[in-house]
Symmetry: C2
Subunit: 361 residues, 2 copies
Amino acid sequence: MNSHRYCVIMCGGVGSRFWPFSRNDKPKQFLDFFGTGKSLLQLTVDRILPIVGADNIILVTNRQYAGIIREQLPQVKESNILLEPARRNTAPCICWAAHHIHALDPEASIVTLPSDHLVLKEEAFRKAISEGLDFVENGNRLLTLGIQPTNPNTGYGYIQQGAPAEGYSEIRKVKSFTEKPNLEMAKMFLDSGEFFWNAGIFLWTAKSVLDAFSKYSPEIAQLFDAPESIYGTPHETAFIDETFPLSPSISIDYAIMEKADNVYVETVDLGWSDLGTWNALYEASPRNNEGNVTQNCKVLTSECQGTMFAVGGDKIIVAAGLKDYIVADNGNALLICPRSDEQKIRQVVTEIKTRFGEEFV
Amino acid sequence: MNSHRYCVIMCGGVGSRFWPFSRNDKPKQFLDFFGTGKSLLQLTVDRILPIVGADNIILVTNRQYAGIIREQLPQVKESNILLEPARRNTAPCICWAAHHIHALDPEASIVTLPSDHLVLKEEAFRKAISEGLDFVENGNRLLTLGIQPTNPNTGYGYIQQGAPAEGYSEIRKVKSFTEKPNLEMAKMFLDSGEFFWNAGIFLWTAKSVLDAFSKYSPEIAQLFDAPESIYGTPHETAFIDETFPLSPSISIDYAIMEKADNVYVETVDLGWSDLGTWNALYEASPRNNEGNVTQNCKVLTSECQGTMFAVGGDKIIVAAGLKDYIVADNGNALLICPRSDEQKIRQVVTEIKTRFGEEFV
């Protein structure tokens, strides 16, 4: 195992589109979604462990999840858990982690992973990551994984591929990024064969990404630009607590990837889903003859089709006459809505918080 | 208060049509259905207390509910709780209670009440009961309360009225009983103006009803025909434990009311519902502008109409696109079905018990 290779797992998201399963105090990444006995975060760690040792896995999360992370990942040492004092999207999170790792190992290369995605083809995943790290270790390059699209999904970012990178059959230069296109555009992308879904998995060296911040996001770069003697020392926490909240809230895509001229995409087939919405989970799950998905629960249906049933805990659902619905019950909240309404869930969660209080979200 | 007047409250039912609210270990009558802080049973006792003292209220229930009854009705003395060792419908229950009361007071008159009905007009209820008791105390008569039907409900029993009883403007001889007619017949009944819903509220003297058992249900009469010295003594329990399970399971309507020639009906306007089904509860509850009923819960709806939401405990329901549904969530069970499917619930409960176990019913 190459000891210069690090993995950053981002696990501070709130996953509000998955309410009421995903809750403020226990978002999606900490849940055992598939009833396997492991949370999505634990599955993510297990997936990368064969190629990056536990000591080189860095978790970045919101401070409120420190307890649950220690509980779920006892093998990760305390100093590898970076606790954000505020929510500022992915760019500042990645910048901090890169500084932290660069201080520990100036030659480090890094794969950055979301903590809440599904990857069915684990061997292909590790092969792609290993090849990708090899690619970014041999030049000043930023690499992202691209997934062959299977439908004109309007919830994903799309990457247009350009010229092939010499010596790497699956890696090409990126021509353009497009965040969440409209349906017409998404259909054109799909038909063209040139576009791939942005999986939110990034590879680079610590040095390359810090250089990119300096060049394309100087505001963030300056904020985190402390003497190297701060990072990886007991002073780091105090510095971050002061600095981090001052950062703009911005994604790595907007801050770096869409601007940089050294971005590449590695196209992969991973059996991937971002599990970003109930529909994504529905698509990723085995269905019965009526097209219903039962997620970890006991269900008795009559005249139900295309419906997703999910329950937290040992509970029975009896349902009749539902077509293409989401039924999700967890703790003190129950959601029943057409699958086509799933984009409204985030907004509903906000309304619940306002009208009924924090304890329901 | 006339100390010869007794009230028998039958509270041993399982209310399976109200699953998952009504559960084996805590059926409907023990639930605070309207969020008033009192169970239907407690409301029933409160309703009769102004005209029958607590010492003359007899509760008949299944043995398994002894604890919950003592908890909910501390004012009722232990010896007034009759615990059935088996479920045998209403006839044996009423026969036992009549013997018990007759042994305590051979001149007793009795009003027999279900424990799980809704009565909005409490004063009218008490006036009707007082007049009815007066009527049965002055002759060998069996009296039942009849409710003016408002729709051709096929779930109720219908009573056809005959000639008026002298001196009682609201009381008439009963011409016929019809259990659960089909829709066509129910419509004819409604149009004729001669038919009333059987509310399951019966009035008679202890002597009259025991005479009726001897005449019309000799099998049951013989079973309970012990020396009077048994009833109201410590020997009663042992005798009942042996005798009761031998009784056929039969309703008082079939055993007595449909056969006897001294049956009368007192027609009343009580703001009554038997709350026998989710639809009955829906009809009895205030609706919002979309025709939705929220029973004791927080609900956020979008494009829902005519839907009944009921939740046990402090929980939020977010629902979209439901038309004329029942959504009932309680403990480890959730029901979502069209209101028109409610007659299937009883059968579903049986299936759940078989497939998933007792703990879900």
